[in-house]
């Protein structure tokens, strides 16, 4: 039966490109690619990322039935390819970005507007083989319209009122009710993919850790694992455990800050104060043990930058003990404050169907019934030894996203404790062999699944680097979620999503 054909079966007859680790890359011709797009319209193969090269388009797919991950590419000699966005809305912005950066034309995509390119770069299609001349004037951006009596627009950004990243939000509202929200992003586009090309593996590690500063460990880890897959490096066991330790500390610190931030946006400032104190304790321990409060540049290709100091285990255990009690108190406070529940319950509901359709990960997906977690599928060491439990709720409202964070914070505390108990001895870093190849890795950031794909040459230089942020599949959902809510609840909904601008724009 056609409906039961797996992704691997579908790709079985096509050309396999050598040197792609650990996930095979299949190259499809024009007909094959069109067949893939047609199949994507009805299959449950999940879209993980889509990116370009000067003459080739790439898509990473996961068969949700068996967890098989494949990279599929298509050489578009005439610089055109059949748009996946025509059948999968989650790909629309990715393909608009592919057109902006590599100049490959997604055929069949209705949305002709540029996305990352605002007409302000000194070149157009900067990553194409032959970039085009710059636009004489910045592009005007026609927002999607909403018409009706009494409708008004509210433009917000790119400079916002708080200490947050830049992006533009265009509301169409009727009175207080949001009829349509559309975001315009790309303001923080730094051209990271272009900068990485031709640099050494070590230099690119610094860039990878700065795709989105709040997820620096998750990105550095995804990059390191991708490079290690490409070069065939064997990472010492202890390094894997220390990486997980850092990743969980990062997750914990971010979840606490988010819980505080969400409550603050519901005018419950005491929670933000409480959580800021707890977060600061974690960052202080990070600084004392690893030398950097946010743990930047600590995960490196080949292992970790430095071993945990001898007193590290005891210091973290004391931290855990205090946090455990305090987080529990905060959860009780959250659950027993009716004025707060009144704001968060039933606000900003993301339907499960949409979360699944866009493949939303992290707390956004898990609060709406999509329990995917990269630590489990495909999984990476040492999580297979840690009996990870992934919380899931079905309500999909702001409250559910807060409760998922509380549950994940508790789980991170447990994981850190287990890691400290079972941390193996041994070296924490190995030299990378010089080998050309392609590698891809996925890791779970606090926000969702981070994907990094990399191609290195035999001299230890990066030929191509692509990083995919979970926010790509969450930003569009925020727009759907806010519909029908009041404008005043937008900050609350936005904070409960906490999408990354920098990770998305890159």
């Amino acid at each position: 039966m056609i409906g039961q054909e797996t992704l691997a079966e579908f790709l079985a007859g096509a050309e396999t490109v050598a040197g792609s680790h650990p996930y095979p890359r299949t190259r499809l011709d024009r007909v094959g690619w069109q067949a893939l797009v047609a199949r994507l319209a009805g299959s449950d193969w999940g879209l993980m990322a889509e990116w370009g090269e000067p003459d080739e388009v790439y898509v990473a797919l996961r068969d949700e039935s068996d967890g098989e991950i494949r990279i599929v590419s298509h050489r578009c000699f005439d610089r055109r390819f059949a748009a996946i966005g025509a059948v999968r809305p989650a790909a629309i912005r990715l393909e608009r970005a592919i057109r902006d950066l590599w100049g490959l034309e997604p055929e069949g995509l209705d949305d002709r507007r540029p996305w990352l390119d605002h007409g302000r770069w000194p070149v157009r299609q900067p990553l194409a083989a032959r970039p085009r001349d710059p636009s004489p004037t910045p592009f005007a951006y026609p927002f999607l319209t909403a018409e009706g009596e009494g409708l008004h627009q509210i433009p917000v950004g790119p400079v916002h009122a708080g200490v947050i990243e830049p992006g533009h939000f265009r509301f169409h509202a009727q009175g207080e009710t949001v009829v349509r929200l559309e975001a315009r992003l790309g303001y923080t586009h730094k051209g990271i993919a272009g900068l990485a090309t031709g640099r050494t593996i070590k230099e690119v590690a610094r860039l990878a850790g700065r795709v989105s500063g709040d997820s620096t460990v998750a990105y550095a880890l995804a990059y390191a694992r991708a490079v290690e897959a490409a070069t065939g490096a064997d990472v010492p066991r202890r390094a894997n455990w220390l990486r997980a330790l850092m990743a969980e500390l990062e997750r914990l610190a971010n979840h606490l800050a988010d819980i505080g931030g969400i409550c603050n946006d519901a005018a419950f400032a005491v929670m933000l104060a409480h959580m800021s104190v707890l977060r600061e304790r974690i960052l202080g321990v990070n600084r004392a043990l690893f030398g950097h409060r946010l743990l930047m540049d600590q995960v490196v290709p080949g292992g970790v930058a430095a071993d945990l100091p001898p007193e590290g285990s005891e210091t973290i255990k004391q931290l855990l003990y205090g946090l455990h009690k305090e987080i529990d108190r905060a959860r009780q406070l959250y659950e027993n404050t009716p004025s707060l529940s009144d704001r968060t319950q039933g606000t900003g509901i993301l339907p499960s169907a949409l979360a699944n359709r866009f493949g939303a990960g992290g707390f956004v997906g898990r609060a709406s019934g999509r329990g995917h977690d990269a630590r489990r599928v495909p999984g990476y060491p040492p999580y297979e030894m840690l009996d990870l439990s992934v919380p899931m709720l079905l309500e999909g409202d702001v409250n559910a996203r807060v409760m998922i964070r509380f549950a994940e914070a508790a789980e991170s505390l447990r994981l850190i404790n287990r890691i400290l108990l079972e941390l193996p001895d041994g070296p924490v870093r190995t030299d990378l062999p010089l080998r050309a190849g392609e590698g891809m890795a996925v890791t779970e950031s606090f926000r969702g699944e981070v994907l990094v794909w990399v191609r290195v040459d035999e001299s230890g230089r990066v030929v191509r680097f692509h990083a995919h942020d979970p926010s790509w599949f969450q930003w569009p959902l925020l727009e759907a979620t806010i519909k029908g809510n009041i404008v005043a609840d937008f900050p609350l909904c936005n904070k409960s999503f906490n999408c990354s601008y920098s990770g998305h724009d890159q």
């Binding site: 605002h118 302000r120 770069w121 000194p122 070149v123 900067p126 910045p138 790119p158 400079v159 009122a161 708080g162 200490v163 947050i164 990243e165 830049p166 790309g186 303001y187 923080t188 586009h189 730094k190 051209g191 990271i192 272009g194 900068l195 610094r206 860039l207 700065r210 795709v211 989105s212 500063g213 709040d214 620096t216 800050a257 005491v270 933000l272 104060a273 409480h274 800021s276 104190v277 977060r279 600061e280 960052l283 600084r287 409060r293 946010l294 930047m296 108190r329 009780q332 406070l333 027993n336 404050t337 990354s500 601008y501 920098s502």
Partner: protein
């Protein structure tokens, strides 16, 4: 049942604030002496008030995290009368983070123009100095100084909260001179 908020407030009342302070106890990152000095100067030079408008001109959001920390109860910037404001029109200081991206250059310039004089610009973090690790990209214009006149640079990737405090102290110095 005693509401959890009552318990929390009671603990805060009996145990005192979480803010690092006290002139005697040595502080590992030197924030204490700094904080005391900052308080005096803020009072003397600007009548206990300095309003900062932050603009992310393309940062990775690492600097923003540390600005939040400075605003939090542990460093508690506001006890010195320094606070972050929502509108550039209420600001004395423009604090810029990140390399200035081509897509943000105009927004940064217009925000600067909206700040009333006298005004000072603080470039926060290594990227805001010269573009940092993003320098040389087609999408990056350069450091904050390539778009607005910068008075002070606070280094770090990202700068630690204590360093941000010390940088603001320096702004106070310059404010009185210039």
């Amino acid at each position: 049942m005693i509401p959890p908020i009552s318990k929390l407030l009671f603990r805060a009342l009996t145990r005192g604030p979480q803010t690092r302070r006290g002139p005697v106890a040595p502080d590992p990152d030197g924030a204490l002496e700094l904080a005391a000095a900052l308080g005096e100067r803020a009072r003397a030079k600007l009548g206990r008030s300095l309003a900062i408008r932050e603009v992310d001109a393309g940062s990775c959001n690492g600097c923003e995290l540390e600005i939040h920390a400075v605003n939090g109860p542990v460093y508690d910037l506001e006890r010195f009368g320094i606070r972050f404001v929502a509108s550039p029109r209420h600001a004395d200081v423009l604090m810029v983070t990140g390399p200035v991206t081509a897509n943000m250059a105009e927004a940064l310039r217009r925000t600067y123009e909206a700040v009333p004089s006298p005004k000072w610009v603080v470039a926060l973090g290594d990227c805001a100095r010269d573009g940092g690790c993003f320098a040389g990209s087609y999408a990056v214009v350069g450091g904050a100084a390539s778009v607005v006149p910068v008075d002070l640079h606070i280094p770090g990737c990202p700068p630690e909260p204590a360093r941000i405090l010390s940088g603001l102290l320096e702004v106070m110095e310059r404010a009185v001179k210039g």
